[in-house]
């Protein structure tokens, strides 16, 4: 089932706007993640797809069918909530049976479906327990079970893993990916966790303050962020930003910061030239694209943090604070001065005024 959102907007009664003119198409069988900081409108968007909120403006289509006036019950969707929202007064079996009973299935069919879904999620042994007798991970499985048991057209998942501990989360991520492949249904996944978004999604839609920032594959989002917000939001530790301008001299085109220049080459030089010499830009560089021990500049090491096989090094490079992620075998001590270089082909340039990516035309 393809989902199409056209100019979708939501304003609340108190005047606060959650979503502004969102245009987004979610392909059939795709797992699309709505990613953004809290309050960016991702959950509101999901609830509009579900029919739990009605849009102030705009349209929601499932396939060719306009869904704006269709109640949630008639949309053939399933949703997994952050709180799991299991019915506390029903057993696990009762919870899974509820959507089937509402769909009017006969008893034998219902039992068969429950058995199948419970087997798939390995919750057979829990069927006669009440939700309060289950651990967080088990509750989550039951919530998933209740979602898949009715064979919906669309899965909506609202931060389903944010109440699980880190280890379980990693495990469930893999299971969810497998489950999605196996069921082959369209899924919309809401999260503020970039790790979940990057590992699970076919595509990611990044939202900020109700505005769509970029829709692309995880790879594209990471390597070609559409603007400074996306570049900053994705990646940990955060991307380094250096303010400066496009400079042109006899050697060619370069990025000119307050105290040093970085030469630009290839496509970057081309798009920088088109953007225009003298215009202000921000240069972004991911920590793994900073090299230590080689390069023409020097930096003073202020902090060194070990994350096992790698170390995070904070440096002061002529007044700019730079974070580098380098292999642990480079033994770098805080207080020392090291040569530093940038992989300039990995440099991201953003318009200093609008924050959008400087692209070749």
């Amino acid at each position: 089932m393809e989902i199409r959102l056209e100019q979708l907007s939501k304003e609340f009664a108190d005047g606060s706007a959650a979503v502004h003119g969102l245009n987004l198409t979610i392909a059939n069988r795709e797992l699309l993640t709505l990613l953004g900081p809290s309050g960016c409108g991702k959950t509101t968007t999901l609830r509009m797809i579900a029919g739990l909120e009605s849009p102030t403006r705009g349209r929601v289509y499932f396939g060719d069918r306009l869904m704006n006036e269709v109640p949630p019950a008639k949309r053939n969707i399933a949703m997994v909530f952050q709180s799991y929202a299991l019915y506390p007064h029903m057993t696990v079996r009762g919870n899974m049976d509820y959507p089937l009973r509402k769909a009017g299935l006969n008893r034998a069919d219902r039992q068969a479906r429950i058995a199948q879904a419970a087997g798939l999620l390995q919750i057979d042994a829990l069927l006669d327990r009440k939700p309060r007798q289950l651990s967080g991970g088990q509750q989550q499985r039951v919530a998933l079970g209740r979602a898949i048991v009715r064979d919906p057209d669309v899965f909506l998942l609202d931060e389903p893993m944010s109440n699980l501990d880190a280890k379980l989360r990693g495990h469930m991520r893999v299971e969810l990916i497998q489950l999605h492949r196996r069921l082959g249904k369209t899924a919309v996944y809401v999260t503020h966790d970039q790790m979940e978004a990057m590992t699970m999604s076919d595509r990611i839609a990044v939202l900020n303050r109700g505005l769509l920032q970029q829709v692309a594959t995880p790879d594209e989002i990471y390597n070609r962020p559409a603007n400074r917000f996306v570049a900053n939001f994705i990646g940990s530790p955060e991307m380094n930003f250096i303010e400066g301008e496009i400079g042109a001299d006899t050697d060619g085109i370069c990025f000119r910061a307050a105290s040093f220049n970085l030469p630009l080459s290839g496509d970057q030089a081309e798009s920088a030239r088109r953007f225009g010499a003298g215009r202000t830009v921000s240069a972004g560089l991911r920590p793994e694209d900073v090299m230590l021990g080689e390069g023409s500049l020097e930096g003073d090491v202020t902090v060194v943090e070990s994350i096992g096989h790698e170390i995070l090094v904070q440096l002061d490079v002529r007044g700019h604070r730079i974070v580098a992620r380098v292999p642990a075998h480079l033994s770098i001590r805080s207080g020392s001065r090291v040569p530093i270089g940038f992989r300039s082909e990995k440099l991201h340039l953003f318009d200093g005024e609008t924050g959008t990516r400087v692209r070749g035309a």
Binding site: L52, P72, A73, P88
Partner: protein, 283 residues
């Protein structure tokens, strides 16, 4: 003496004090009840013995028999039962939907309405006697059970609405959202999910409303003058004051029968009642 032993002694000492205080309170409050039951079972000649007897020497049910056969007591009882039951049902129905609306829909003035509701409950009932009487008289409902039910509903509803609202606030909105996605209509999700969750609150609210209506005296006195539609509180007073000598045993027998339904209800629903109030107060 070791520290542990001394603190254990202290603990058992304070527990003893607590027990004494509690039991004194229990005995103090239950003695009138005991006296009521005891008196209702005493034959007339034993009522004013000196010194008084704690338990009847020759227990008898004659007062109960006479109360049920020779007096309008059964009619009063029936009227009370009708009024209290009707009041409870109406209040519960309206307040449950009202509380759902106040907690689940967004509309202007929602909070103000919720606060104002409680405010109406704070008005002393004496102030409202005259306006309510005139209004009901205008509709020719003054001297009727229906009029009394309407009056009781108008007093019970704001409180029930407030109690149930604070109860429903604690039920996660995700639950009814989940039910609606799972295929239920709004009403369906309300019945399947909200009502079972709110059950303790519904029970404690209905008990409260039932008792308030069952015991209500002032409005019943003002509104009802026909003997055949009097409720228990005024009926009993009528019986008490209409004869020259007060039939204490009969009055006590009536009081026992008036109290018994409430005690039965409380005994069975005590657990839900305390649960309901506990959660309700939090919201």
């Amino acid at each position: 003496m070791s520290v542990a032993a001394s603190s254990a002694l202290k603990r058992s000492g304070s527990r003893l004090v607590l027990n004494v205080v509690c039991w004194t309170a229990v005995l103090g409050t239950s003695f009138p009840l005991f006296w009521m039951i005891s008196t209702s079972l005493k034959p007339d000649n034993e009522l004013f013995l000196r010194p008084p007897t704690l338990l009847p020497l020759k227990p008898t049910l004659e007062h109960y028999v006479r109360l049920l056969s020779d007096t309008p007591f059964p009619s009063y009882f029936r009227n009370s039962l009708v009024v209290a039951t009707a009041t409870t049902l109406i209040v519960l129905l309206v307040a449950t939907f009202g509380a759902y609306s106040l907690t689940r829909f967004r509309y202007p003035g929602r909070r103000l309405f919720a606060r104002f509701t409680l405010f109406t409950y704070l008005l002393p009932s004496v102030v409202l006697v005259l306006p309510l009487y005139l209004t009901l008289a205008w509709f020719h409902l003054a001297n009727s059970l229906l009029g009394l039910v309407i009056t009781h509903v108008s007093f019970g509803l704001p409180f029930a609405l407030w109690l149930l609202r604070s109860y429903m606030v604690t039920i996660p909105a995700d639950l009814d959202a989940a039910a609606r996605i799972d295929g239920a209509s709004r009403l369906g999700s309300f019945i399947d999910v909200i009502v079972p969750q709110a059950l303790p609150g519904l029970i404690s609210t209905s008990l409260f409303i039932f008792i308030a209506s069952w015991n209500e005296y002032l409005y019943a006195l003002v509104l009802i003058s026909r003997d055949d539609i009097k409720t228990l509180p005024i009926g009993m007073i009528t019986m008490l004051t209409s004869s020259f000598d007060v039939e204490w045993s009969q009055l006590m027998a009536g009081s026992v029968m008036m109290t018994v339904p409430l005690i039965i209800a409380f005994t069975f629903l005590q657990r839900q009642m305390t649960q309901g109030l506990g959660v309700g107060v939090k919201g």
